[in-house]
Symmetry: C2
Subunit: 774 residues, 2 copies
C-alpha cells in the first residue's frame, strides 16, 4: 500500500512539473519541465493517502464508495488515483496506462487544452469540484440520502473547515437515517496550513478538538504523525474501526425497531502539509509548512531546483512502481478495486446514469377552477403543494423537498399529508410532522438546503428547494459553482444529464408584511441570468394554474437551474387550466380578455411579469377603461423571462419577428416587472423597439408596511402606472395633466387611509377585474 | 427586576396588538386592536429577560455594554426596553414617556409610516438588524475589537445558530485579545423552536451541547427553566459568574506578561418560546411551542380572543408597573442605567459619533514611477500594500485589514512590516507574522471577514476587506443587508455617518491561472449596482497609481460601499502620478497618448474598464495603428464605473452632454469591460448613443489556462477587438474581410503556440506600447 501511495504521489508531482520524460529515464532537464508551474501540492499527498486506504476498505468489504475531495484543488491526487485504477483511461483512451499515456497525463494537467487543476467535472468519480470551499460535507450527505448501500468518504480540509457552511454541515448527522440512507465517513484532514497561515482547528488543544466533534455528535478517531509506515498502520486501524462502527449502526437500524440517531464515526487525520515533499527549499522550511501549499518551488532554471525535483520524484522509487512500459506493476494494480467498485467508476458519481424519470401525477388534476379571470382567489403555492404531495407519494425513494423551515409557511403544507420533516435528533410527543423517515428536509441554513440538494441531484435523484426570495442570495456563490459544473458537464460526453436544480422563491419582495426592508430583494434573478443561457431558466407564473404547469415542466427538465418566483398569498386567479397551459407553454402572450386593441394597432402595450405586477397592471387597465375608454390597449403577460432575450442569446428567446409582433415596432411599452427594472432593459436592449420601453419594478424602497403601500413606494401601483401611460401615449397628451392629477388624488387618498388605519383601503383589497365584478 | 421585565413584556405585546387604550383603562374592544397583526412574539420575552439582567449588570459594575439581538425580529423587545430606560424618547420626542407616548409607541410598530418590526437602524442602541440570520456574533466581535472597555452582549437565537456563518462565528474567540479588545458575552437562547420546527441545538443531549461549546473554546453556563422567580436567580448568578470571569481574564491580560487565549464564558439560556404568553390558543399549545413564533393568535373578531389578549396583558399587572400618567414607576425606572450607560444610548451603537478621520499618509509618496506609458511593469496591489502599511502605522487603534488568508497572496504583504496577523490560538516558533496584537484579520471565511468588518465599522472605526473576486459572492447577502442598513441610516438624522465598507477584489476573473473556471466570476459588480446609488461605488483602476488615488478616496469616504477591482499580477503601468490623479479624480477620460483623433472626429471610440481590458484594448490600438494608420481612434478609460450611468441615476453619473462629448453622438463605440458585458448596456441604455455601443467582456468561458488564452476564450483579446473594429467602422468596410483574415491568422498562430508550449507567445507576454518600445 505504501508503494501504491508512492505511485500516486509520483504521478501527482509529475502532473505539476513534467512535460516529458515521465519515467525519468533520462536525467531531468529544463526541457522536460512545464514552462508554467501550476497546481496545489500541499493537500495532495494526504488525499492520495486516504484514497489508497479507501481502496483497501472497498476491496476488503466490497463497498460502494465515492470520494469527495473537499480540497478539490488537490486535483492531481484524484486524477493520479483514477489513472492507477484504470477508470481514467477507460473514459479518456488517449491517456492510456503506459509511458505515453503517463506523458500525456502529466502534460495535460493545468495545460491549455488540457484539464483544470481541480477535481472538476472532467475528473472521473468526482461530484465535487471544491474550488470554492465549504460544501464538501453537504454534498456528501446529499449523495447518501436514500442510497442505503453507498458510503461517501468526505475529506474536509482544515482550511475549508473554517468556513461557515462547513462549520454548520457537521450537524447533517441529525438528518441521516441509518436504515434508509447510506453513510458518510468524514475525514478532517489537519495538515495545519492554508495559503499563508496556520488553520484554526490545527491550533486548538487536542481536548478541545475532540470535544468539538463529540459536541457535533460524532465519535472522532485520531490518526496523527508523519512517519509513513506507522501512519499506514494507524490509518488502517482507524478506518477499520470506523467502518465496523458504520456497519454496526446500519445493521442495528435495519434489523427493525425504533431508529435512534447514532454517534457516527469520523476521522481526524493530522499529517504534514506537502507530506513526502522536499523538507526545505532554498533553506526555507517546506514540508509541514504553508510554503508547500501550491507549487513548492519553481525557478527551474536553477540547476539545484532541477536536482531537487529529480531527487524528490526518485524518492518514490518509480522503478519499483512502474514496469518498463510505464504500467503500474501488477502486484500493485491488484490492490485497487475493480469495475464499478473503483471510486473513479462508481456510477453514483455520474448520477445521470442512475437517473429515473419522476412518476408525475397529471398536474391538470390540481387545477384551481377559474370561471372568470380574477373571479376567485387562491394561494398559488398551496395548489403546487398538493401536486408536490402526490409527486412525493409516487416517488418515495428519489424525490425530496428542501427548505429553511418554511415549507408550511410557504403553503406547501400538503406535503405533510405524504411525509414528515426529516428529524433524527430528539423528538417530543407534541412534535408536528417530524419523523425519522421524513422526506422534507428543513434546517435554518440555506447553505444546507442547497448543498444537500446538489449532492442529491448529482447522484441521480430529484428535488426542489423552496426559499424566501431575499435570502436565496445566501447561496449565490453555491449557485455559481453548480451552474458552472452543469455548463462544463454539458461539454463532456460521458457525463449523463441529471435532474435540474429547482428553486422556488416565494415569500417574495412584495409581500414581506411581517418583515420589511431586510427581506426585500428580488436580485437573485439578475444573478442567475449572468450564467450560461443553456443552463438557466426563470419563470414568473402569475397564478396557480400557470405555476402548476411550470412546476411540472421544471420537474421533467434536465441539467438546468430553474428559478420559479411565485407568491404564497391569497391572490386573484386569472387563467383556467387550458388557458394556463396555452399561456405558460408559450412563456409569453397576450391576454385577449384584457386587451382592447382587437380592432387595430394598440396605442400602448402594457406588459407584466410576476403576480403582483400583473395584478397592478390589470387594475391600471381597469382604471384606463373607465377614464379613457377609447384607448387601445394590448396586455402581455410574461411567464418565462428568457423569452425577452434575443433568440441568439437564449434558447427560449423570441425571434425579432415574434417580439415585434407582440410588442409592436413603434408603440410605447410600459412593463411592470417583479424585480429590479433594469433587468428588463438588459434583456431587451437589442430589440429594435427597445427605445419605446419604460419599466417599473422594485427600486429598493420598502419597510414593514401594507402590500399596497409597498407597490406605491416603488411606483409600481395602478395609479402610478396610469400616470406612466398618460405620459407615454401621444394621443393622451391633452388629457395627461388631468389624468395625472386624478391619479395623484387617488394616491393621496389611499396613502392617507393607509397611514390612518394601518391597512389598505377596502377598494384596493377587494378590487376585482370588471368581468368578475358583474 | 421581575416587574421591570413584566413592563417590557407588556409593552412588547402592546406593540404587536394595540392601536389604542394602551394602559387598558377601558375594557378591551376590537377598535383598540390593529387591523393587521404583525410581529414576532416568540423570542421577545427572552430578549426582554436578558436586557433586564444586563441592565442590572451594567449598573452594578458601571459597564459600557451594547446589546446585539441576533433574533432582531424581536424588535418590540429592544424598542420596549429603550423606551423604559428613556433613550427612545430622547431620540423620538413624540414617543414620550407617558400614556400618549405609549399609545404612539404601540401604534407605530409595524404600522405604515411607523417603524419596522426589526431591531432596525431606527432602533436606538442597535447595530444589528437581524432580519437575515447568521451574523450576530461576527458583529459583536467586530464591535469589541480595539474597544477594550466595551462588552457586547450578543443574543444568539437557536434558529440562527443553525446557519453556517453563525456556526463558524463561535471561533471568533481565537482572534480576540483580552488586553486590547473588549469582551463578547454570547447568550445562546434555546427557546426550542423556529417558525414550524424544533431547533437542532435544543434537541441534542445536554452533554453534547456542553461539549460543543467547550470544543468551541468557551466555558458554558446553563440557565434552564420556566418559572420566572427561579429563572431570575439562576440568570443573575450566571451573568455574575460570567462577568466575573471576563473581568478576571481582562485583569490578568492587562497586568502585563504574555497573553494567552482564555476560555471565555458564554451562557446557554433555555426558556420557553413565547414565555409568559398564553399557554393555549383555541385548545392548541402556544407557550413553549412554535405556534408562538409570530403573533400567537389573531382573528380578533372572536370575543374569546379579545378576552385572551386582555387577560394576557393584565397578567403583567400594568397598574403596578405604570403610574396614572403612564410612566414607569420611579422605583422601577431606577433599575435602569443612566446616560450613556443605557444600552439604547451607548455611543458605540451609533458609531459615527465616535468616528475619527484616519491619519492618512500622502498617497503620492507611494507612486510607481512611469516615465512613459507602458514602459514599466508593477504589481498594482503591491504599491497599495505599501500605502496601507503606513495607514496601519499611523492608525494603530482604529484601522484593520480583513481577508480570507490572502493578504500576502494579494500582494498586500507590506502590511506585515507594520503589524502581524492576529492569532490567539496556539503559536509555533516558525510561524510567520502571527501575533496576539496583529491587526490583519485572516480566517478562511468570507463571512467572518465581512461580519467582523461590519461590526468594526458600525462602531466607528475603519477597515478594508480584500478578497478573491469570485468568492466575494459568498457575502452577497451580507452586503445586501449592510447596504440596506446604510440606506436607511442616511434617512435617520441621529445616525451619524460611519466609515465606508471598502472591498478590494483582486485575484480577479482574468488571472486565475492556478484555479480556473470555479474561480472566475466578475458578477459582484452586477449585484452591487442593484442597491441604492447613493450608497455604492465601483472602481476599476487600470494601474498602480490610479489604484493609489482610489484607495485614498475610499478610505476618506463615509457611508458607502466601495468596491475596487484591481489585479495583483505584474502588469504594464500607464499613468504617472499627476496623470493618474487627473484621470481617477474625473473617473473617466481620454488618454491622449493613445488617441489619434486629435485632428477631428474619431472614426471609432474605443473604451476600456479594468486592467486586463485596458491592456488588450491598447494592444489592439497598436495593431490598428500599424495596419490602418489613417484610422482616427479615441481611447477612453473608465475608472469609476458609475460615471456611465445617467446623472439622475447616480451622483457620479456624467451628464448627457459630457457623455456625448466623450463618446460622440454617432460614432461606433467598442467597449472592453472587465466583467459581464451586459452590465455596460444596463448602465448606458438611456444614453442617446447607446445603439452604437458594442461591448466585450467575460462571457462565462474559462478553465485553467494561460492569461492570453483566457481573453481569447471570451473574445476580449486584441485580435478579436481589431476584428470588432473592422466590423464596426464604415470606412473600413472594404478592408474588413482582409483585416479579419489577418487577425484570425494571428489568433490561430497564438492559440497553436499556447497549446504546444503551455504558455503565451513571447510577443504577447512582452508586448509594449509603441512609445515604450522605442
Amino acid at each position: 500500500m505504501d508503494a501504491y501511495w508512492r505511485a500516486a504521489n509520483y504521478l501527482s508531482v509529475g502532473q505539476i512539473y513534467l512535460l516529458d520524460n515521465p519515467l525519468l529515464r533520462q536525467p531531468l532537464q529544463l526541457a522536460h519541465i512545464k514552462p508554467r508551474l501550476l497546481g496545489h501540492w500541499g493537500t495532495t499527498p494526504g488525499l492520495n493517502f486516504i484514497y489508497v486506504h479507501m481502496n483497501r476498505l472497498i476491496r476488503q468489504r466490497d463497498l460502494s464508495m465515492i470520494y469527495i475531495a473537499g480540497p478539490g484543488h488537490g486535483g492531481p491526487a484524484v486524477v493520479a488515483n483514477t489513472w492507477l485504477e484504470g477508470s481514467y483511461s477507460e473514459l479518456y483512451s488517449d491517456i492510456s496506462q503506459d509511458e505515453e499515456g503517463m506523458r500525456r497525463l502529466f502534460r495535460q494537467f493545468s495545460f491549455p487544452g488540457g484539464i483544470p487543476s481541480h477535481a472538476a467535472p472532467e475528473t472521473p468519480g468526482s461530484i465535487h469540484e471544491g474550488g470554492e470551499l465549504g460544501y464538501a460535507l453537504f454534498h456528501a450527505y446529499g449523495a447518501v440520502f436514500d442510497n442505503p448501500d453507498l458510503v461517501a468518504c468526505c475529506v474536509v480540509g482544515d482550511g475549508e473547515a473554517e468556513t461557515g457552511p462547513l462549520a454548520a454541515s457537521w450537524h447533517s448527522n441529525k438528518f441521516l437515517n441509518p436504515r434508509t440512507d447510506g453513510a458518510v465517513l468524514p475525514i478532517l484532514h489537519l495538515n495545519g496550513y492554508k495559503i499563508a497561515n496556520p488553520t484554526v482547528l490545527a491550533r486548538i488543544s487536542h481536548s478541545e478538538l475532540e470535544c468539538l466533534f463529540v459536541g457535533y455528535g460524532y465519535k472522532p478517531y485520531f490518526v496523527e504523525g508523519e512517519d509513513p509506515a506507522s501512519m499506514h498502520q494507524l490509518m488502517a486501524a482507524a478506518v477499520d474501526h470506523a467502518m465496523d462502527q458504520i456497519s454496526d449502526i446500519q445493521r442495528q437500524a435495519r434489523a427493525g425497531g425504533e431508529v435512534q440517531r447514532p454517534r457516527w464515526p469520523m476521522i481526524i487525520l493530522r499529517s504534514p502539509k506537502g507530506w513526502t515533499g522536499p523538507k526545505e527549499v532554498d533553506g526555507k522550511k517546506s514540508e509541514g509548512y504553508w510554503r508547500s501549499h501550491q507549487v513548492p518551488f519553481s525557478d527551474m532554471e536553477k540547476p539545484e531546483h532541477l536536482r531537487l525535483l529529480e531527487d524528490w520524484m526518485l524518492s518514490y522509487l518509480p522503478r519499483e512502481l512502474f514496469d518498463a512500459e510505464g504500467r503500474l506493476r501488477p502486484e500493485l494494480a491488484a490492490l485497487a478495486p475493480t469495475g464499478e467498485r473503483r471510486m473513479g467508476a462508481n456510477p453514483h458519481a455520474n448520477g445521470g446514469v442512475l437517473l429515473h424519470d419522476l412518476r408525475l401525477p397529471d398536474f391538470r388534476d390540481y387545477a384551481v377552477p377559474v370561471p372568470t379571470p380574477g373571479g376567485v382567489r387562491a394561494e398559488s403555492t398551496r395548489a403546487m403543494g398538493e401536486f408536490l404531495r402526490d409527486v412525493m407519494h409516487r416517488n418515495p425513494h428519489n424525490f425530496r423537498v428542501f427548505g429553511p423551515d418554511e415549507t408550511a409557511s410557504n403553503r406547501l403544507g400538503a406535503l405533510f399529508e405524504a411525509t414528515d420533516r426529516r428529524w433524527m435528533a430528539e423528538r417530543l410527543a407534541d412534535d408536528d410532522h417530524l419523523g425519522v423517515d421524513g422526506r422534507v428536509m428543513e434546517i435554518l441554513s440555506e447553505h444546507a438546503c442547497e448543498g444537500w440538494l446538489e449532492g442529491y441531484l448529482l447522484t441521480g435523484r430529484h428535488g426542489l428547494f423552496s426559499c424566501y426570495e431575499a435570502f436565496i442570495h445566501i447561496i449565490d456563490s453555491m449557485f455559481n459553482q453548480h451552474a458552472k459544473w452543469l455548463k462544463v458537464c454539458s461539454e463532456i460526453p460521458w457525463r449523463r444529464p441529471i435532474a435540474s436544480l429547482n428553486i422556488l422563491l416565494t415569500s417574495h419582495v412584495w409581500r414581506q408584511d411581517h418583515n420589511g426592508f431586510s427581506h426585500q430583494d428580488p436580485g437573485f434573478i439578475d444573478h442567475v441570468v449572468n450564467k450560461k443561457a443553456d443552463i438557466i431558466r426563470v419563470y414568473l407564473p402569475p397564478d396557480a394554474n400557470t405555476l402548476l404547469y411550470v412546476t411540472d415542466e421544471c420537474l421533467k427538465s434536465r441539467n438546468l437551474v430553474n428559478v420559479i418566483v411565485a407568491g404564497k398569498q391569497l391572490e386573484r386567479q386569472w387563467l383556467d387550466m387550458p388557458a394556463a397551459i396555452n399561456h405558460a407553454s408559450a412563456g409569453i402572450g397576450m391576454w385577449e380578455w384584457a386587451c382592447s386593441d382587437q380592432s387595430g394597432e394598440p396605442d400602448i402595450v402594457l406588459a407584466a411579469a410576476g403576480d403582483v405586477p400583473t395584478l397592478e397592471m390589470l387594475a391600471a387597465i381597469d382604471i384606463l377603461r373607465q377614464i379613457v375608454p377609447a384607448l387601445k390597449i394590448r396586455f402581455i403577460n410574461v411567464v418565462d423571462l428568457m423569452t425577452l432575450q434575443p433568440q441568439e442569446e437564449h434558447p427560449h428567446g423570441l425571434s425579432d419577428t415574434e417580439f415585434i409582433s407582440l410588442f409592436r415596432a413603434d408603440t410605447p411599452i410600459l412593463f411592470a416587472y417583479h424585480g429590479y427594472p433594469w433587468l428588463i432593459h438588459r434583456l431587451t436592449y437589442r430589440r429594435s423597439n427597445h427605445a419605446h420601453l419604460h419599466v417599473r419594478g422594485y427600486k429598493e424602497e420598502g419597510t414593514t408596511t401594507t402590500p399596497f403601500d409597498m407597490v406605491v413606494l416603488n411606483h409600481l401601483d395602478r395609479f402610478n402606472l396610469v400616470m406612466d401611460v398618460a405620459n407615454q401615449v401621444p394621443k393622451l397628451q391633452s388629457q395627461a395633466a388631468h389624468i395625472k392629477q386624478q391619479m395623484r388624488d387617488m394616491l393621496n387618498r389611499h396613502t392617507q387611509y393607509i397611514h390612518e388605519h394601518g391597512e389598505d383601503m377596502p377598494e384596493i383589497r377587494n378590487w376585482q377585474w370588471p368581468e368578475a365584478r358583474e
